[in-house]
Symmetry: C2
Subunit: 321 residues, 2 copies
């Protein structure tokens, strides 16, 4: 195994699983994860960072394996008590999860950049990787739907992705820049690849790429940039990726995801079940089994992804397609 | 039983128990409770009102009978998770208790007066009494000790009342006024008595009386004002009342508590075990068994207190002393 370092770009569940696979297969300390914060919102006076927390909990082994969000061995006393007080309960906050929100809110309010707070929480949770929000700024994803322009969590959690999506906007993007530590992460010697994890391209990865300067930072590294398809057998494992592609008038296909990242990526990993669309993809591809039901699956997809990256970097002679 | 109304002034544990006794013995809707907020503080970004919450939990039957603070059937997942994140854990916040703090913090930050929020929480918890903070303003109790001038919760919880008290200050008192609903509560027809509950006179009742205009509001009612001694057999049931009296150079005696309230109270209820000091007290007294270990005890002290109030109002011919 190379001792090379990897920077992963991800959103929530699916992306976090591949980040975990990379963490388990790369040398200790070799992984950095740049996480979407377009979904962040203020709720009950707390600063909530859903994708950051999914990554933190997944990489620390605290994630709830059944829900895809929140913590394992969670209790729900707070939520029941809040309901009795007439508080808002549509966004479920477990008792242990609350500690993350309260501590982050307190520290950000005291003036610490989000990226410093998140890196520290990752350290406290024993995660041997650098976890960074894409920006310390206030980019917020909003969804223009047939029910109007709505906040991301309103769309995603409260309305359970039911409204038809017409357009996705990243409000406040222009005033943002990549979190300071991202440039440092990408500039450290030994970077071997950048991996765009199998998160929703439109809702989870695009906000990261919408941060002014982010694309340039990624591309300036000169290392292979590999995306992993979030679609398997032409549909999404979890979440609204396929539904949104349809609503946006796009073909619902792994090839379309590869097209979406064209100009950024150097290689694409997709599931064997999507082999039929390989001919439509204009970058080198690797076929894998990308469903990540188990920890071994996460390791396998990570290893396959790194194999393609190394092939593209010239470590091997041919790209397997 | 008269249908007269009663306004109780109280702090935390002991005071809340008598308020509960009054609630259980007075007609439904006849009780108003004016609660100390000098102990309030901001912790972890949350607005915490310890005495208010003790009263709310006691009157709603949610109180933890073992601790004197917090809720029964509580879980502690938040606290354990916060500890893992390196957060401050010296002030224990249960998972259910957190809902009260989060909801209150959110609503006060949104501009609602504390008194409106507290009255609403009391209603939500099914408390058939009017619970009011003494003020919507920012009076804060600080304690000048041999270790310097320290915040109340620092003294009370973190240092467990160990420093020697030299002086107790009510910072910000001058800018406060009684919460608007207090004047309305006291002006409603049918008020029969005001009860100063057996809370710490210096730390819990004095801050209420330090709110400019509060004494005048209480006295303008013209009804008997009765205090109940927090000392039993010359010592405090719980908390630092006796220790503080000693440190302030006062005699540690129920009579001293009566002297402390002189000019305000019309009658004083003390425990039979303190009968020896009755001759030192310059207002009419009633001897009772004021230890409130059980619900029946709370009822008994409430009934005895109201008996003295009614005697003083001329409903009976003589004061039993």
């Amino acid at each position: 195994m190379s001792t090379g370092r990897v920077a992963a770009v991800c959103g929530g569940v699916g992306g976090a699983k591949l980040a975990d696979g990379l963490l388990r297969t790369l040398p200790r300390g070799a992984l950095g994860v740049i996480v979407n914060t377009g979904d962040d919102f203020e709720h009950l006076g707390l600063r909530i960072s859903p994708d950051i927390d999914t990554v933190l909990y997944t990489l620390s082994g605290l994630a709830n394996p059944d829900t895809g969000w929140g913590r394992r061995d969670e209790t729900w006393t707070f939520m029941r008590a809040l309901e009795a007080l007439g508080g808002e309960t549509w966004f479920r906050l477990g008792d242990g999860d609350l500690a993350t929100h309260v501590e982050r809110t307190r520290r950000v309010a005291a003036g610490e950049p989000l990226s410093v707070v998140v890196a520290d929480i990752a350290h406290r949770l024993g995660i041997p990787a650098c976890v960074l929000p894409m920006t310390d700024g206030g980019l917020r994803t909003r969804v223009l739907t047939d029910e109007g322009l709505i906040d991301f969590q309103d769309y995603f959690v409260r309305r359970q992705c039911r409204p038809r999506v017409r357009e996705i906007r990243f409000e406040g993007a222009a005033a943002c820049r990549p979190a300071a530590r991202i440039a440092a992460l990408l500039a450290e010697p030994g970077l071997e690849a950048i991996v765009i994890c199998p998160s929703n391209p439109y809702l989870s990865v695009d906000p990261v790429l919408a941060v002014p300067g982010m694309r340039e930072l990624l591309q300036a590294t000169g290392v292979p940039i590999i995306a992993v398809s979030p679609l398997i057998a032409g549909t999404a494992v979890k979440g609204p990726t396929a539904k949104i592609m349809g609503e946006l008038g796009k073909p619902i296909s792994a090839a379309e995801v590869a097209h979406h990242y064209e100009g950024l990526i150097d290689g694409f990993v997709l599931d064997r079940r999507d082999e039929a669309v390989v001919s439509q993809i204009r970058v080198p591809v690797l076929l894998s089994c990308t469903l990540m039901a188990t920890t071994d699956d996460r390791r396998r997809v990570a290893i396959d992804t790194m194999r393609l990256a190394r092939q593209l970097a010239g470590h091997c002679e041919q790209v397997w397609r």
